[in-house]
């Protein structure tokens, strides 16, 4: 048995219905190919969920958690990805918006681990010297 089959299968209607009732915990669910276009999913927790090929374009994903989620081939165009948690997620072949352009990520995505970030952040925290 693979991990995939153990995940609870939900459809978009289930998620949106539960979300409307105040549920935010969708961890470890199977949401492959789900249609979430333009959906309000603020603050929802999709960590370790499978969202392969899901369409999340134009969705409101502020404070949404995709830690360790499988977003292979997912469409994330026109979503604001600034305020999400996405550590360890798989974004191969996903579509994301950068600037005015939708790009398809071809090939693998490599996460950069903490050390280099730490150095960077330290440097970035220097005081701006201009007025």
């Amino acid at each position: 048995m693979t991990k995939q089959t153990k995940k609870k299968r939900l459809i978009a209607e289930d998620v949106l219905h539960l979300y409307a009732q105040g549920e935010r915990d969708f961890r470890n669910t199977n949401l492959d190919g789900t249609y979430f276009v333009g959906a309000d999913l603020r603050g929802a927790d999709f960590s370790y969920a499978s969202l392969r090929g899901a369409d999340l374009s134009n969705a409101n994903l502020t404070n949404t958690d995709f830690t360790g989620a499988d977003l292979t081939g997912a469409n994330l165009s026109n979503t604001n990805l600034t305020y999400i948690s996405i550590y360890g997620a798989d974004l191969s072949d996903a579509i994301i918006t950068i600037g005015n352009m939708d790009v398809i990520i071809k090939g693998s995505v490599e996460q950069i681990e903490g050390e280099r970030n730490g150095q960077k952040n330290k440097k970035a925290n220097r005081k701006r010297t201009f007025e």
Partner: protein
């Protein structure tokens, strides 16, 4: 003095930067060779940097709001936390550039090369290995 029409040389720009000047907004800096230059924390708001060579340059936290960077060479440039809102980056070469925390809203990235660039999505940094294909 009319800042808009004044064209700086690379030497002049770097010398002014070393002396502590950080405001290089609304200047014509097109085509300048600024390879590996250290120009972080500076303002290039609305400046013309078209076809400039900024390969490997340190542009950390610099401000390029509304600047023209079309055709610029930004290979391996450090653009961490740079502000590129509304900047024109058409045909720019951003391969291996570090765009972590850079603001790219409304940036014109048509035909820009982004292979192996580092971007931040949410709380994590990613390198995109291989090609970035513009969506058809």
């Amino acid at each position: 003095m009319d800042k808009k029409t004044k064209k700086l040389t690379a030497k002049e720009l770097l010398s002014r930067y070393r002396k502590g000047e950080r405001d290089f907004s609304h200047l014509n800096l097109s085509g300048l060779n600024l390879k590996n230059a250290s120009l972080g924390f500076a303002y290039f708001t609305g400046s013309n940097l078209a076809n400039a060579n900024l390969e490997g340059a340190d542009l950390e936290l610099s401000n390029f709001i509304g600047a023209d960077l079309s055709g610029a060479n930004l290979k391996e440039a450090d653009l961490t936390q740079a502000d590129l809102i509304g900047a024109e980056l058409k045909d720019a070469d951003l391969r291996k550039a570090d765009l972590r925390g850079a603001k790219l809203e409304y940036a014109g990235l048509f035909k820009a090369k982004l292979d192996d660039a580092i971007i931040r999505l949410g709380n994590s940094d990613f390198v995109i290995k291989g090609k970035w294909n513009r969506r058809k």
